[in-house]
């Protein structure tokens, strides 16, 4: 039996069960250890002195008053840093020039955004170092600031980094098919300027670092998604060989991409610990979190779609102007291009092109936030589909069905050369419509309208790309972290028959300890409670590539399955030898490796382990032990898909949106644990709805961050969110033996377009045909009132959506335009 066939034959039926999480007992009792819960002997505290200016020359820094304070051990500035390089940026696209400035742990000469660190204070007391940071006096000479990415591209704009002579970072394109011919044969062309505004990851656990350099070894505990990458870069930046650097991601309180990073605070605390010979801890304040933990999105997407009168799409072109901020962090300039790989969406579109222009401004860098490129792509595609449907006078679902790629179970190559693994978009939409009666919603809308409540319904049919990644593709393209996209797993069966799985992935809430234990349990014939899953510690397991981009299950879960199968194969050889049978006749049934046809003859895993570790009677030439490893490199990405619907009520008098229903049908292949899938979908949708309705990182025209706390940055609360209705279709991926696709980002990818389409649908009777996110009451109210006035159809620039309206106001500012 092949590995693939074997893996599809579960032993004990743990896979597929909504098993309660193994992680939870420690989390619900307050016994878990996040970074700030760990305290070391002789530990010091760090605080950072940060720039209040968005762009300025550092004239002088006076640290004497701070150094004189009781309990202050050291105050460092850039001059003290004996580091030869700054923070890393890992995108190296062949043939594309990327203007990448140095990004030092402490600013050198100039500051480029509010919050840019200029000094590091280390002392004995948590509160004392904050006092000391306030006693560091920095003289700044303000320089011109640019915060509008389109203005930043104009000649004569203030420059973020003068040495490049431009704010343009790079231009990058991906396309396929004959775009010109596609537009030439179109009967209708629709153009929209779709703004996907800046948001924050906003994990509830702030970032935190504890670094201890002891002897000649460095140990760093960090609230990170990427302990393995962090170890690699700490080793390079600090010049400590990798074998002497250990990074531990203990309990991590959410990431959402914002902890997929190599941060100045991680490197700085490790550096200071080595300098001082004592452990150094830093815990982010929420204001720091909003200011210097990377943001996401922030694009102006100029979309142009061509279609025949019957709805057949002939061409789709997008220009993305991405405001990536003042520096480039680990993946910063590469996130906007990620949109291009799914720009066909779920449609047969014969000609597609995406042009990306990355632009620098005096803001904190953007990077991966939940979905990273795919929410932006899906939002612009799906919002445009509804706009096109309106233009054609077609039902939006009919337009989608007209253009769906027909069902496929083996790779389908899109015009841009991306091979979708499997899909059945009709089936997902059909399933969705079993849950929601569109005609009934329309009837309710009619009924409600006289009361001033406008009910609307919106849809989104999506696919996305995840399961990073086939190394043979991501390596040469420069997409990926040069290390490729494989994942590792080690399954170690102990002498008494319990097991430990070491995974190279690094979860932060997803439930790997449970789901991965279910996978291994079925392949070894033991209970998931007998399997401990170890992650997030570079010293315990093999090298791994961590957790982001919905990769853990499709790559790391498959590696776990393969390592478990190797163990099972060895177990079968031992059993066959001991029971004098053919190894091919041994099968796993009801927790025992038995001889096929003679179920009374068999050995449980504990007996096999005993035989493996007390090797008195092993097959000739077999090594003792029961411990196997897999490094799995996928052949392709995986492409989850689905269909979502949202019903909203908009109060025409106040502009307030209420979510009446949200129905999601997602297809991520066969479920390992359906409870975990639902949890990911609920949270993902909320992230998408949150962006569309409430959240926005706002800088004013001077580059000051307006949304520096949770008072100003509005996360959705329980009171705003509905109960979600979820369902699934199951289309296995041919890429991995589990058939699984990722699901951690799907809800976010579909969420913002779904609700945006619903709100626009609700507003159409009021004359509003289109509006950009965020769909706040103020902006909706303005859109309604603009639409009823003479300027209703004017195609103007939508001030404010990008977070830097000329008034310098926030999302609820008085001068923002709404409709265009």
């Amino acid at each position: 039996m092949s590995v693939a066939e074997e893996a599809r034959t579960p032993g004990n039926g743990h896979v597929g069960r909504a098993m309660r999480r193994k992680e939870d007992p420690r989390l619900i009792t307050g016994r878990a250890s996040y970074v700030d819960d760990i305290t070391l002997t002789n530990q010091l505290w760090a605080a950072w002195v940060r720039s209040p200016e968005a762009h300025a020359k550092i004239v002088s820094i006076d640290t004497s008053a701070a150094k004189a304070l009781d309990g202050v051990v050291a105050v460092y500035t850039h001059e003290d840093l004996d580091m030869e390089a700054g923070l890393p940026m890992a995108w190296v696209p062949p043939g594309v020039e990327v203007n990448t400035p140095d990004h030092w742990v402490l600013a050198k000469g100039e500051v480029k955004h509010v919050g840019d660190p200029v000094a590091l204070v280390v002392g004995k007391d948590r509160y004392g170092v904050v006092d000391a940071a306030e006693q560091v006096f920095v003289e700044y000479e303000p320089l011109p600031v640019v915060t509008d990415p389109e203005a930043a591209l104009e000649d004569g704009s203030a420059l973020v980094h003068g040495q490049f002579g431009t704010n343009k970072v790079c231009e990058w394109s991906l396309g396929g098919g004959d775009l010109e011919a596609g537009f030439a044969e179109a009967d209708v062309i629709v153009e929209r300027r779709i703004v996907n505004h800046r948001i924050a990851g906003a994990a509830i656990e702030p970032r935190a670092v504890l670094a201890e350099y002891r002897g000649d070894r460095l140990t760093v505990w960090s609230s990170t998604q990427v302990p393995h990458f962090l170890r690699l870069f700490l080793s390079i930046l600090l010049g400590i060989s990798e074998d002497r650097v250990r990074v531990i991601a203990p309990e991590v309180g959410g990431g959402f991409g914002s902890k997929l990073q190599i941060y100045a605070e991680e490197v700085g605390c490790a550096w200071a610990s080595r300098k001082l010979g004592r452990p150094v801890k830093w815990v982010e304040t929420r204001t720091e979190g909003m200011m210097v933990t990377h943001h996401g999105r922030d694009q102006i997407d100029k979309v142009r779609v061509g279609a025949k009168r019957d709805g057949t799409i002939t061409a789709f072109h997008t220009t993305i102007i991405a405001d990536i901020g003042a520096y480039q962090m680990l993946l910063t300039p590469m996130i906007p291009p990620l949109s291009a790989f799914v720009m066909c969406g779920v449609y047969k579109t014969p000609a597609v092109k995406t042009d990306v222009i990355d632009v620098m401004t005096n803001k904190f860098p953007t990077d991966a936030i939940r979905g990273a490129g795919r929410p932006e792509a899906t939002h612009l595609i799906e919002v445009t589909m509804d706009q096109l449907a309106a233009e054609l006078g077609m039902d939006p679902l009919e337009l989608r069905r007209k253009n769906f790629i027909p069902p496929f179970t083996e790779a389908h190559e899109t015009p841009i050369g991306v091979a979708y693994d499997s899909g059945n978009y009709e089936a997902a939409l059909d399933r969705l419509l079993e849950h929601i009666d569109v005609a009934e919603v329309r009837r309710q809308a009619e009924e409600l309208r006289p009361t001033g409540i406008y009910r609307g319904i919106g849809f989104c049919t999506y696919t996305e790309i995840c399961g990073n990644a086939p190394s043979r593709i991501v390596g040469p393209s420069g997409f990926g972290l040069q290390g490729g996209g494989w994942e590792s797993a080690t399954v170690r069966v102990h002498a008494s028959g319990s097991a430990t799985l070491y995974t190279g992935t690094s979860p932060h809430g997803q439930g790997h300890e449970t789901g991965f234990a279910q996978i291994v349990a079925d392949r070894l014939g033991i209970d998931p409670s007998q399997i401990e899953v170890i992650h997030g510690d570079t010293q315990t397991g093999p090298f791994g590539l961590d957790t982001y981009g919905s990769r853990s299950l499709a790559v790391g879960g498959e590696a776990a399955a393969r390592a478990a199968i190797k163990v099972a194969d060895k177990a079968k050889a031992i059993v066959a030898h001991q029971l004098e049978a053919d190894p091919d006749d041994i099968e796993l049934r009801d927790g025992k490796f038995i001889v096929r046809g003679s179920p009374e003859k068999g050995m449980a895993l504990a007996e096999v382990a005993g035989a493996a570790y007390v090797p008195e009677n092993l097959p000739e030439g077999m090594e003792p032990g029961l411990d196997e490893q897999s490094f799995y490199d996928p052949e392709n990405f995986v492409f989850p898909f689905g269909a979502h619907a949202c019903v909203v009520d908009v109060d025409a008098e106040t502009g307030k949106v209420e979510i009446v229903r949200y129905v999601a049908v997602d297809d991520c292949g066969p479920a390992i644990n359906p409870m975990l899938i639902d949890g990911q979908v609920h949270g993902g949708i909320t992230h998408g709805l949150g962006q569309a309705l409430y959240e926005q990182v706002v800088y004013d025209a001077d580059g000051q961050l307006v949304t520096g706390t949770f008072v100003d940055y509005a996360l959705a609360t329980a009171a705003e969110m509905p109960s979600f209705e979820t369902d699934r279709t199951v289309t296995p991926s041919p890429v991995n033996s589990l058939g699984v696709k990722g699901v951690g980002e799907a809800g976010t990818i579909a969420g913002s377009a779904t609700v945006t389409n619903a709100v626009i649908d609700a507003l159409r009777p009021l004359g509003v045909d289109y509006m950009n996110m965020p769909l706040t009451p103020m902006r909706i109210w303005q859109a309604i009132h603009t639409a009823s006035g003479p300027a209703a159809t004017e195609q103007g620039k939508d001030l404010g959506e990008h977070g830097q309206g000329s008034s310098g106001s926030g999302p609820a500012g008085p001068t923002e335009g709404g409709a265009q």
Partner: protein
Amino acid sequence: MSSVQVSITVNGERHELDVEPRLLLVHLLRDRLGLTGTHVGCDTSNCGACTVHLDGDAVKSCTILAVQADGGEVRTIEGMAAADGTLHPLQEAFWKEHGLQCGYCTPGMIMSAADLLSRNPDPSEEEIRHGLEGNLCRCTGYHNIVKSVQSAASATKAGAAAPTSEGVTA
């Protein structure tokens, strides 16, 4: 900095401590008493990760000074399960209904929910959602948190919060 003596009873145990007047209750609990189950998420009283009970009411311990709790009785997440380890009905319900993912907001969420149920033992979905408005969760979308509170309310009402046989045991 001068210090002040406070006397605080936490999870039934009395502590006499010298503290800076500006010490926050959450830092007294975490850094002085080692009760790290109570978390800090925002510094502005928005997220509720720091929620504990002070004299029976849910409070945000990141915006209360330790000196304000002088003479008070504090209950934290570590004090919710019974001495023999039997989980509080809310802890059991959050586990059963998958009411948590990263777990960071969970202690505060459970403490707020306990306060809600003590005032309203049989809340509607809307009352639960409004009752938990002061606690932010970025992982769950609140769906399963609401189910957890409903489940705990029914379990308490039924007078039985017996764990189901499903899944692993603590």
